[in-house]
């Protein structure tokens, strides 16, 4: 069965949808840009997590994918943008070394991983320690800070209202992830993991 959806940067929404499909007895077989292909399974046979890996270089993304597969998980690459052009080049100053220039043959359109685990009744978490969760949420926040700076600057220098609106909109995800970081940091003051 094929379904067509686009979630963009709404990672939690995509994750919830996939878990809802699993609850109805469908597990993922294949992903396309918009397409999700499912096959029948027992209800809740598998659990899903959607993870942002846009900051990783091609090599490190692949290394991480293999690590997750060795853990016994099934892993799918997924795009976060919707763009069909072929010679795409994106600059990502917020990424790690080796991932700052993203092209179609490296990390562009491979910004997300969908990770599937056989349901063993235990919660499925990828990031468990406080320090690692802070690192992960910062990673999710930083691209939006970059958008804010770029669109903010364009909004001011080009007197573009559209750019200004984009800049303003990026404040929501920044605030969303920053709140999470701040909350976890407070816990770090008296608890370690």
């Amino acid at each position: 069965m094929k379904k067509y959806r686009f979630f963009g940067s709404f990672l939690d929404t995509q994750e919830k949808w996939l878990n809802k499909m699993s609850a109805q007895g469908y597990r993922l077989v294949r992903t396309g840009k918009l397409m999700y292909e499912f096959e029948s399974c027992s209800p809740n046979e598998v659990q899903y997590r959607v993870e942002f890996i846009g900051e990783k270089s091609r090599e490190n993304a692949e290394d991480y994918r293999l690590f997750l597969e060795d853990m016994g998980y099934k892993v799918f690459y997924k795009n976060i943008n919707l763009n069909y052009s072929i010679g795409k080049v994106r600059v990502r100053p917020w990424a790690e070394k080796g991932g700052r220039i993203a092209t179609n043959s490296t990390t562009y359109n491979r910004e997300l991983l969908i990770i599937e685990k056989e349901n063993d009744g235990k919660p499925f978490m990828l990031h468990t320690s406080l320090g690692d969760r802070i690192r992960y949420y910062r990673m999710l926040r930083n691209p939006w800070i970059f958008f804010l700076v770029i669109f903010g600057a364009m909004g001011i220098f080009l007197s573009s209202i559209i750019c200004g609106v984009f800049a303003a909109l990026s404040l929501f995800p920044i605030a969303h992830y920053q709140l999470k970081v701040t909350k976890i940091k407070k816990e770090l003051d008296f608890r370690e993991e």
């Binding site: 293999l66 690590f67 060795d70 853990m71 690692d132 992960y136 370690e192």
Partner: protein
């Protein structure tokens, strides 16, 4: 490199990973070993474990073991890692002895 020798505590995750690597293990084995030894209290997420292994390799506390690359890569604690683990054990002993003296007396 030796930033921990001065006396800061290791995180529980770091210490458990070091202990589990007194024999060579790959990621899956580390995760299950720690879960089993803590009776399910400490369950590491795969992302957290991956990050921790990379950091500990960079610090030189653990290293890749044998020829294994890519798939099912195994890790082992290094002499520096053993030194760090030893220091942490001494610190914990001191702490538990002192804590038992104060808290233990109540029972």
């Amino acid at each position: 490199m030796r930033d921990n020798v001065a006396g800061g505590a290791l995180t529980e995750v770091t210490f458990y990973i070091l202990i589990s690597l007194y024999q060579p293990r790959h990621g899956y084995s580390i995760m299950h070993y720690i879960e089993e030894k803590t009776s399910g209290r400490l369950v590491l997420g795969a992302g957290t474990l991956y990050g921790a292994l990379n950091t500990l390799c960079e610090k030189g506390w653990i290293s890749g073991y044998g020829q294994s690359t890519g798939r099912k890569k195994e890790f082992l604690i290094t002499p520096l890692g053993r030194e760090i683990a030893q220091k942490e054990l001494s610190r914990l002993k001191e702490l538990t002895e002192f804590a038992s003296e104060i808290i233990g007396g109540e029972q």
